[in-house]
Amino acid sequence: MEHVRLHEVSKFYGQVLAVDRLSLSINQGESVALLGPSGCGKTTTLNLLAGFLQPDGGTIRIADRDVAGLPPNKRNLGMVFQSYALFPHMTVAENVAFGLKLRRVESAERERRLKEALDMVRLGGFADRFPRQLSGGQQQRVALARAIIVQPDIMLYDEPLSNLDAKLREEMRSELLDIQDRIRITSIYVTHDQEEALALADRVAVMSNGCVEQIGTPDEVYEKPATGFVAKFLGESNVLPGTVARADGTSVVVDLGGHSVHCQTSERFSAGDRVEVVVRTERLAVSPERLSTDNCFKARLHHAIYLGGTIRYLVQLGDHRLIMVEKNRGDRAALSEGSEVYVGWPAKDSLLVKLP
């Protein structure tokens, strides 16, 4: 069942078009991540949904109702801010109960729900503290409890984890997933952290320049990017420009200037098309011996960077510098820098992007 619908929504800041005829549909109970580079209009979209901004064009419908002109306080939404935005002059309990007070929930019920919410974010003993007496992670959990306690129709998250350090971010992420499983509420995450988007969302909407480039499940957008932007934005990729030499249905051969690369695609290409071959760094293999993959080339190893869990190889293939990342299984002798190696990858891992 459709819960939220943005139809051709646009927003200008003066002359700057921050959101450009954006359309997006979100189902009841679904969590969708808006993912995109800085300045692509994610926060603006969220603020349009929240009602802090009014669109200059298009319509926003929540539960099949046009919300144009409806102020934020009448939308029954929950929101978690990047800066936590706790009320510094109120205790944790006062912060969390704020929304219930506004809804005139009577005090016994309020106490019960307050306790429940604080327990849910594991802050039972912190009710009487002030926000400044809490760590960043604890503050963010208070913010979460404060938003959830009012049982909003939709939860909005604006970069909820970006102010936390890497380890805490990981922790909060699984905690968010837990809570999401428990309350099953329509959620929209704004983030520029791909892992966060892929981990938290049922569907990911990849944005650029105020538009949604592609929306799909995490593995759809990662494995079958619809546009060159999505292919290059997600994951870490090698981008190799070339020309189509032969196209035979789903199987295409691209000439990179000396090297012929086999690719598999569902799109139609014809000989002479200028294209980019996009290969994810973790899909490449490197070896001192010849590899039995669709594509295998002799190359020179430039650097092998030891990163503990992984090893990064920089390989020179003709004019191209390839990056590949390999799991460090500790079961093979280090390749020596400057030596001849073979690099290879299967045809299905060569994503093709047509250039204009």
């Binding site: 510094p88 002059h89 926000p131 009012v150």
Partner: protein
């Protein structure tokens, strides 16, 4: 040789770190401290010493060096006490009206664009750019029997004979609010600027309308600015002299007037000094109590930032 180094190493490890006195802050503070000492502490000491004397107002011969005579004389006189109460009342009302007038202006200022903000700031501080005497003449024209207000009241037919507005407490307060308002407005503005806009948004999305958001979030979070501004205005108002002289004259006497009178006209310096000390103590006490009240638990989170 090697034994020596080993010994030295042990000594280095076991040496208790010496707490060294850091003179730098004192050197930096020195000019201000010296100035403060010469022009504030010393005169205040002289004032205190003066206030416990008694002298003959014809011969200026000191009759007594340590007496509470002057204090008793002031505090047991209903006339002087009335003036003291009036001074505090005028200062308190000036503070209250300044804060009330300053809030909308300060809020508007936070929402204004850069150009509008510079122009507005200039307008707000304009009373400080003009001599207080000039401002007072302006208000005299407004409050005069044939002045602006009386003229307007007569035009709409509310009064027949002009009201006696000039030389009233109202006119003194108007003048004081006009002169001291910039301190509160800018101080509140500064406080409002420091509020994270996301907290306001958080309140809105939790279901608070604009008015509720102002009362629950914006107002309490801007209390430090309002407090700082109102303390300045209160202190300046209790000791103001020029504005009450021009706009209140002999009808609205304030403590500062009596201090001036005793020192410059009657030449009873000990009594003048005692009045000054009384005003200082009363003002300081009220300010401290007010500060305490405002910083109580309710605002712990705001003030401890």
């Amino acid at each position: 040789m090697s034994a020596m180094t080993a010994e030295a190493a042990v000594a280095a490890v076991s040496a208790v770190p010496q707490r060294r006195v850091n003179w730098t802050p004192w050197i930096i503070l020195a000019p201000a401290l010296v100035f403060f000492l010469i022009f504030y502490v010393v005169p205040l000491a002289i004032l205190l010493a003066n206030s416990v004397q008694r002298w003959d107002t014809y011969t200026y011969k000191v009759l007594d060096y340590a007496t509470l005579h002057q204090y008793v004389r002031y505090l047991l006189d209903p006339y002087y006490l009335e003036v003291l109460v009036r001074t505090v009342r005028i200062a308190a009302l000036t503070t209250l009206y300044s804060v009330i007038a300053a809030y909308p202006v300060a809020i508007y200022l936070t929402k204004a664009g850069p150009t509008e903000r510079s122009i507005l700031t200039l307008i707000i501080i304009s009373p400080l750019l003009v001599s207080v005497v000039i401002l007072c003449f302006g208000w005299m024209v407004v409050f005069a029997p044939a002045g602006l207000i009386n003229w307007a009241l007569k035009m709409v037919g509310i009064v027949d004979a002009p009201l006696k507005l000039k030389f009233s407490e109202a006119s003194v307060i108007s003048g004081l609010v006009h002169v001291y308002f910039p301190f509160v407005a800018l101080s509140i503005y500064n406080s409002l600027q420091n509020i994270d806009p996301a907290t306001v948004r958080a309140a809105r999305i939790l279901g608070a309308g604009p008015i509720r958001t102002f009362w629950s979030i914006t107002l309490p979070l801007s209390i430090p600015g309002a407090l700082a501004g109102s303390l300045i205005v209160f202190a300046l108002s209790t000791s103001s002299f020029v504005v009450p002289m021009f706009l209140g004259g002999a009808w609205v006497k304030v403590v500062a007037y009596h201090i001036w009178e005793q020192n410059m006209a009657t030449i009873d310096w000990p009594f003048g000094a005692a009045i000054a000390v009384i005003l200082l103590v009363v003002t300081a006490t009220i300010m401290l109590a007010y500060n305490r009240l405002m910083e109580r638990r309710l605002f712990t989170g705001v003030f401890a930032r």
